[in-house]
């Protein structure tokens, strides 16, 4: 059930991201179409050779193909989401938000590992098994010779324990005891359950760390696009516009700078989508919320800037 929730969450982010990518692609197509109009008019005026027009035509057709591919991916991903949600067609369409939210706060690794240990379902199951065997050992009166066993369950649940889970339990085996086979069986099962629990815990912690690192890298990538690349691209558009105004550079260069800005926004959305999908994976490993704070729902600006300063 949790796996399904994770899959749905990931499909949701993919579908929302796809929609944004399609919208940005349509803007790139608009830009390439404007460049093609300029190329056509130059050729009609007799100022450029056919080659120049055909080069712009090829850029335009390439963008159209890209947009068509983006649209197909979006439709496919949205369908997958609806299937996962048990919904069909237009019913679910309206529910998709327009934009993916931005990552807002850092998630601490230390907090996550302890949450995972207390919330992870596989670990929970392994823990239950271990508790059951511990109870058998207790009932069979072997607790006296298994001092470590009585505290085992509580001990491994300690969220602050790092690395190997405490000292390996060495059970002192009585040499002259009567009920040796039964006792040996109980002890051996208890040990197996304990090792299993230990292995799952190590695996869960390793997975938390691995997924956290991946998420952290993606968050940095998203912030890099948001804080550095997008403002830089907008500035380049402004500078190219100023250069065009002085007739220092062509209309082609100007529209190309705008297309580059939108392409950067497209890469930003791709990073953001990957971030949210990675977050869903991590959430699955942790087995619940990643922090006390709810993820933000406010929409964010990813399209090209339409707010222009009036000269």
């Amino acid at each position: 059930m949790l796996m399904l929730a994770e899959k749905t969450r990931r499909a949701f982010y993919r579908a929302v991201g796809d929609a944004q990518i399609v919208a940005l692609g349509e803007n790139i197509e608009k830009g390439q179409s404007a460049a093609l109009t300029l190329a056509r008019k130059l050729r009609q005026a007799g100022n450029t050779p056919p080659l120049a027009y055909d080069q712009d035509l090829s850029l335009y057709e390439h963008v159209r193909l890209q947009v068509a591919m983006d649209e197909a991916a979006f439709l496919e991903d949205r369908q997958r989401l609806f299937t996962l949600m048990g919904l069909w067609g237009a019913q679910g369409h309206a529910r998709l938000p327009h934009r993916l939210p931005l990552p807002q706060h850092d998630i601490s690794l230390a907090g996550l590992e302890s949450r995972a240990v207390s919330q992870n379902l596989r670990l929970e199951a392994a823990n239950k098994r271990l508790a059951a065997f511990a109870a058998v050992v207790k009932v069979s009166g072997l607790a006296g010779i298994l001092p470590g066993a009585s505290i085992g369950v509580n001990y491994v649940r300690d969220p602050d324990v790092r690395g190997t889970l405490g000292p390996a339990i060495s059970v002192p085996l009585p040499i002259f005891n009567q009920g040796q086979p039964a006792a040996a069986m109980a002890i051996s099962e208890y040990r197996a359950a304990y090792r299993h629990y230990q292995a799952v815990a190590i695996e869960v912690r390793a997975q938390v760390r691995e997924r956290w690192v991946a998420l952290h890298a993606l968050a940095r990538e998203v912030i890099f696009y948001q804080k550095i690349m997008l403002p830089l691209r907008r500035r380049i558009v402004d500078e190219t516009q100023a250069s065009y105004n002085g007739m220092f550079d062509s209309g082609f260069l100007l529209v190309e700078s705008k297309i580059d800005e939108i392409k950067t926004a497209r890469r930003f959305v791709i990073s953001l989508e990957r971030y949210w999908r990675a977050r869903a994976k991590l959430q699955n490993t942790v087995g619940g919320h990643l922090s006390d704070q709810r993820p933000p729902q406010a929409p964010i600006e990813t399209s090209h800037s339409t707010q222009e300063k009036t000269p």
């Binding site: 009609q44 056919p50 100023a242 002085g246 007739m247 220092f248 062509s250 529209v255």
Partner: protein, 465 residues
């Protein structure tokens, strides 16, 4: 057959032969008569003697010569010490305003671009050169007859002047002329950044006098829009063209009174281009170069004089016709300032829905250039850029820039200060204006009568796309 010219030449040969030392004539019996026939040997020998002769007394402005007018720049000051004229040139970096809106860091002398050194034939000059540049420099005296060690060629005739050092040059000015000076260390950089100027040596006894005497150094620069320093690596695509360091409309006009004899000395030590300088209305005579005065029989009437790199040309004319007369380089791109060559040829483009499509993504986009480029755009552009073309004129916008100035000839003026535009002085009926339909009809001119169009090739507009 012997014509008048060859008779005169052989006469000169005989005269030259007469002063030759006996040994020399004996050594080259076969060459001497023919070589001497076309040489100016006596002049050459006089020059050589003058190099080491006792110098004449220093000439003074307005007593021994009429100082030149160098619009937009200045003449370097001097002092006379023990009968020698002493100058101090400081090679340095400073800001120059090329035209409104465009300033850049240039290299020159004493905070000026192309300042004039002015002196008189026969006197002795001592010129101190202090180097305040980040790299060594030297000064070469272009066209001057000097001792080899005074020639200023780094590595060949002297060690370079290191930053912070002051060198001394000293020589007799053996012959008059419109000469020049320029850096001769890392020329490519230092000349590109502005280190050139005119060295005018007035004759001790002029053959005749003129009323106005102007000195203009031509130069070209590569200043990328939005930058603050000329690029010395440029070899072909220069975009700023100046007269004494200014582009129109920053060039000061040349002012003369009607009837005056006007001399204009033009020098070119720009990096790469020769400039055909054209004066409107007047036919002038080309009377001299940095090589010296042309004999009057060799004066040539022209309306345009090509001033090659590394040369001066001196032109003279009588300013008989009042008015505002343009003088400019006739290379059309040399009368533009910071023209971008990557804009694309928009002439004849029918914009249609182009602006609308562009503005979907670029709200400030305007189509430009489809009807020509004669109208200023006045749109916010890059910092530190000059308008491509001129400025306000009496009849509207003047779409000339760069290497362009105006000769202003006025009746009866007593001052050469700002004389304004000629427009209010133009006699009625002497200004071109809108034609009157009645007169056109009378003259049989019908504006609807245009020649039938010549069919073009299968035009791109009709080619399916």
């Amino acid at each position: 057959m012997m014509n008048r010219r060859t008779i005169l030449a052989s006469g000169a040969a005989l005269a030259a032969g007469a002063v030759l030392p006996k040994a020399a004539s004996a050594a080259t019996p076969a060459e001497t008569p023919a070589g001497a026939a076309y040489s100016n040997r006596r002049q050459s020998e006089a020059r050589a003697r003058a190099l080491t002769a006792k110098p004449l007394a220093p000439g003074l402005p307005n007593r021994d010569y009429m100082p030149v007018v160098a619009p937009n720049t200045g003449t370097l000051p001097f002092q006379i010490v023990d009968g020698v004229k002493v100058f101090h040139m400081v090679a340095m970096e400073f800001w120059n305003e090329f035209a409104p809106g465009l300033k850049a860091l240039v290299w020159g002398y004493n905070g000026m671009l192309h300042p004039v050194l002015e002196a008189v034939e026969g006197e002795r000059v001592r010129i101190y050169v202090t180097n305040r540049l980040p790299e060594p420099t030297t000064v070469h005296w272009h066209g001057l007859y000097v001792d080899n060690g005074m020639d200023g060629l780094s590595g060949v005739t002297q060690t370079p002047i290191k930053p912070g050092e002051t060198y001394k040059y000293e020589f007799n000015l053996v012959e008059p002329g419109t000469k020049m000076y320029h850096s001769h260390y890392d020329e490519m950089t230092q000349i590109a950044l502005g280190m050139t100027g005119m060295f005018i040596i007035h004759p001790r006894t002029p053959r005749y006098r003129v009323d106005r005497d102007f000195a203009i150094m031509l130069h070209e620069w590569d200043i990328v829009p939005g930058t603050y320093r000329p690029n010395p690596l440029q070899m072909t695509d220069f975009n700023v063209f100046t007269m004494n360091g200014k582009s129109f409309p920053s060039t000061h006009p040349l002012v003369a009174r009607t009837g005056q004899r006007v001399r204009i000395r033009l020098g070119n030590l720009g990096p790469m281009d020769h400039h055909p300088i054209h004066l409107h209305n007047y036919s002038f005579q080309v009377v001299a170069s940095d090589g010296g005065d042309y004999p009057p029989s060799a004066w040539q009437p022209e309306t345009t004089v090509l001033v090659p790199v590394g040369s001066t040309r001196v032109v003279e004319f009588d300013a008989t016709n009042p008015g505002d007369w343009a003088m400019h380089c006739h290379m059309t791109h040399h009368t533009m300032t910071q023209m971008g060559h990557h804009f694309g040829n928009m002439i004849g483009v029918k914009p249609g829905n182009l602006g609308e499509k562009m503005r979907q993504l670029l709200p400030r986009y305007m189509t430009m250039g489809e009807d020509g480029m004669g109208t200023p755009m006045n749109m916010p552009t890059l910092p530190n850029t000059a308008a491509m073309e001129g400025g306000k004129g009496p009849y509207g916008f003047i779409n000339m820039g760069g290497m362009f100035t105006i000769l202003k000839v006025r009746d009866g003026i007593t001052s050469y200060e700002d004389v304004g535009w000629y427009k209010p002085l133009a006699p009625p009926g002497t200004v071109s204006q809108l034609a009157v339909p009645a007169q056109m009809k009378h003259d049989g001119v019908n504006p609807q009568n245009i020649p039938p169009p010549i069919p073009g090739p299968s035009s791109p507009a009709t080619t399916p796309m």
